[in-house]
Symmetry: C2
Subunit: 235 residues, 2 copies
């Protein structure tokens, strides 16, 4: 297979550390408002509702809605689950967009910049456009383009999320390589004809007591981080 | 009105010099293949078919198709009009994407970079995503996002092209400012609630013998180029 022209990046967990960022924010709010909360448990509970919320859309029970809206619906449930009821509407709205303010892994910005020297670098996340644009501006991620869920109007792992993203770049699926820390994302991408790069992000779940998730197939590339991937891709 | 959070840029003529770039390319091809052609006349003839082609889509006679396809249909007509028949299919395909290789005006890259320090900078062009991404990579334009025609699935001056672009950024129309060298683009943007910035690009038409097109209304900003606009916008 020829070297890919474009890299399509998963973002949550692959480029940014959602767990620590969300945990820190809810704990900061707790400290300010006088309640205690296990930030990591809160982040995990919020994230756990992510796939089921998208499944309702993927299964056509509901038209496409941007992730910010699903995040808000899930946040209201998680706040209730954790017994947190002292936040104003403005505070809840601001907490909901903590996903626009996530921190990157240490190698993400530099790695994307190196990979950009030889490839189109685009997001292919389920995060909505505003979320991705605000995240990139805050962290200095220099994407060529935000693709994925909202632009394709389909949530991964639906085929349209991958194939429309490639087509929007004027490329065939095999000219694109999906970059992700999650085997299931890469399994879907490969099934639709994209090349695949697995990047290990042990701090996403393993650092919080989760089981390791090594590469489950022989992906075209396997790397320890984006700098390693850049070296392996000749950048 | 509050200072805008995002600037939406028209591209052809406002950011890039399509006329000189297209003229140079067809004249280069002519020199190599042994025919003579008035490059500027060729560029103007190709461009003249741009609005009528989009009108067919805007008037719902045809579903949305990316600009690359309209460009190709128009190119075949213009080649016939100019009696140029010695090009292979590959050469015609390559000529069609000259629009992915246009040169910027001298101040465009530096101006966008300065404006980006305070605003989200996004394209709101009728050019398709691949065209905009390739153009930006080749010239060093650092957009936060490509919006407009293909992402909105509607061609300017249709309202959805402007309003969906603002909504994709999570912004109200009045939080966005359309930046263009064309009064009709700004007239449409203003009618849908966006702020407006007129940038004079005398080299687009006046340098080729066209009439001057000064600002036709009191736009929120009027600037001689992007550096002047950056200064006026406090960047």
């Amino acid at each position: 297979m020829a070297h890919p022209k474009a890299l399509l990046f998963d973002v949550f967990g692959t480029v940014v550390d959602w767990r620590t960022s969300v945990a820190r924010e809810i704990e900061r709010i707790g400290a300010a408002k006088g309640f205690t909360v296990d930030g990591h448990a809160f982040a995990m509970a919020w994230r756990k509702r992510y796939q089921p919320a998208m499944a309702g859309i993927r299964e056509n029970n509901r038209g496409f809605v941007p992730l910010d809206i699903l995040h808000m619906e899930n946040l209201l449930e998680v706040l209730a689950e954790f017994g947190i009821d002292g936040l104003s509407e403005a505070e809840i709205n601001d907490l909901n967009i903590v996903w626009h303010r996530l921190d990157t892994w240490n190698d993400s910005v530099g790695g994307v910049n190196r990979l950009k020297s030889r490839h189109i670098v685009a997001t292919c996340s389920n995060g909505n456009i505003a979320l991705m644009v605000n995240l990139a501006r805050r962290t200095g991620l220099n994407w060529d383009m935000v693709l994925g869920g909202e632009v394709a109007q389909a949530y991964k792992p639906e085929r349209e999320a991958y194939l429309r993203s490639a087509a929007f770049l004027g490329l065939a699926p095999e000219e694109c390589c999906m970059v992700a820390a999650h085997n299931e994302d890469l399994t879907a991408a490969r099934s639709f004809g994209l090349q695949t790069a697995y990047v290990e992000r042990r701090n996403e779940f393993v650092a919080a007591g989760g089981a390791p998730r090594p590469a489950s197939q022989e992906w075209e590339w396997v790397a320890s981080d984006f700098l390693d991937l850049a070296t392996k891709m000749g950048c």
